[in-house]
Symmetry: C2
Subunit: 350 residues, 2 copies
Amino acid sequence: MHDSNIFLLITMKDKVTIYDISKKLNVSAATVSRALNNNPKISLSTRELVLKTAKEMNYKQNRLAQALKSGKSNNVGVIVPYINRSFFSSVIRGIEEELTPHGYHVIICQTHENYENEIEQINTLINTQIDGIFMSVSKTTLNTDHIEKALAEGTPLVFFDRKKEVPGVSSVIIDDFKAGYMATQQLIEQGCKRIAHLSGDLNLEIYKNRHDGYIKALEDNNLEVEPDFIIKTNSKIESGASAIEELWKLKKKPDAIFSASDYTALGAIQELKKMGLKIPKDVCVTGFSNEPFTKYMELPISTVDQTPLTMGKIAAQVFLEQMNENKKVSIEKKVVLTPELIVRGSSIRN
Amino acid sequence: MHDSNIFLLITMKDKVTIYDISKKLNVSAATVSRALNNNPKISLSTRELVLKTAKEMNYKQNRLAQALKSGKSNNVGVIVPYINRSFFSSVIRGIEEELTPHGYHVIICQTHENYENEIEQINTLINTQIDGIFMSVSKTTLNTDHIEKALAEGTPLVFFDRKKEVPGVSSVIIDDFKAGYMATQQLIEQGCKRIAHLSGDLNLEIYKNRHDGYIKALEDNNLEVEPDFIIKTNSKIESGASAIEELWKLKKKPDAIFSASDYTALGAIQELKKMGLKIPKDVCVTGFSNEPFTKYMELPISTVDQTPLTMGKIAAQVFLEQMNENKKVSIEKKVVLTPELIVRGSSIRN
DNA sequence: TATTTTAGTGTAATCGATTACAAATATTGC
DNA sequence: GCAATATTTGTAATCGATTACACTAAAATA
């Protein structure tokens, strides 16, 4: 910290309420409220007078009071592992852009991939009387009691990307199986025959599906599934590098890598280059998530785009639909978006 | 969209209030409230009974009602141009992590760099009775009336990164002058003598300061300031490429580029390579912002880190300090963080 | 003109929690 | 045993906006 000044200043007027307006105009607060809400049973003259006076007095509606009365806060909560991950921040942007025109505000919470935080965040969101929750579950979340409790309170919930099976909860995800299949298929089409897979935690649905898509593509092309070619990694660059070390200890070496994460793909590429191998000539590589950096590399990395902005917007739409339904009934809607395979230099051989 | 199922389910109990607890225990709501708030003037036995019953009935405090009564919502608003920009999402993360332990929630708003949106967002945040606003002003914001109005309502405001001069408003920024100076100095130390600058809009303080730091470094090293070497760009990759085209039309060509944005730096590098020039041998390049991709390039790009997480945390601390002060007095605090020059391959010659 | 409509406004309760103030009960001291 | 004090609980107002119901006055109808 380099510098820091102090400066004093007196401010602050009291906030104007409908009672202040009603006093000034000698009408009841009810009349003021009705005028402000364009209630038809108010005379044009008083309505205009109230509106004019409200503007003059710089009246601002207290949404808190309104929310308490109506039982609707017009706030929604979004729970993600980290908000500054490219994918999550883009989903949030999508949600925000879709909901703002409907008068909603978005409250964001991070779990840091921690189950306890997730429970805590859900509870405080419920206390805040949010009208709905959007969430991508943390990696350490196994149990769904906290989610079912939220539902029982009547809080609509929408999963995006990372979901759990909970009756009554809608979800918006991408077709990870298809993504895994497409990515693998494209590598096969480049002539690759020994494709390794750097997988995430297979207990998570998304990674399991990417893995299964990879397997199915191999099978459909009559390529042998080599268990040694499947390495569990953790979305870190170093993890990609060490996976390559491990793979290159094998007798039969891979000629392509399909990584469930762009970061491990990057680590793999760096390690392969260090070993003197040429990409894509010797080894083709495809990552996952379309992290911004994949596009900007001198050798751009093939990857799968999860269309996060769309995902956020659709999740918001699902929520809005649910808000328009009968409150005593909740509708479960499962939307599966088609991912987009982005083929770049790292996996083009000809 | 690939698939979409419908599933029905009945849910929802009514929410439990202190009145439900008070009825069940045959005590007054006041007693329940006091017990829940650990008010000392309540007997241990009733306190325990209330707490136990509250848990049994799954009571959740209504923070809306509490907020209305207390005049404190425990929500703060953050206004940024776009939430999915690496820098902004990291600042937001910093704010969130600092304020969550104090019971605050963070509401996010985007302006899309649009002045009208900014006004709108401020107003709806005030209606929502937020306890404070954090903002980075939009590029199109010239006038500060909307901000002064918010202050007059008694809403504390903290600027971060992009600020305006408004009396009574605290700010947390980085020393952009110093950043520009350091970056330029490092290029000079590599032996560069003809350093061009790709600048942003000089009407914005941050770009003006980076520019001024660049000029000062040249002067301090007795290098001539060449007006043709200063090109206005717009933070897009293409803008960096066309700046290079323009510069290389000059008789005297630069031997280094200091760009006020990582994206224009990237565009410049791509264009220079296309022209067959070697980096850093022929031209050194330094960008600004430490965008994630700069680190991952085969030739990593030198850049300036704005320490966004720290910036968010400090902004939050400034806000918390202000909340602890006398409400009728607002204290203006100006924090200037020291940026970090990250020297990478694109500007190392030896 | 008498009576029914209609339009416009006011009264008061409500949302859920908090808190001065009042009241009831328990405890202490003499 | 009784006043004085301390402890615990209740009553009711409050935060600001909304709205069912009641009421008045003017307009429409017979």
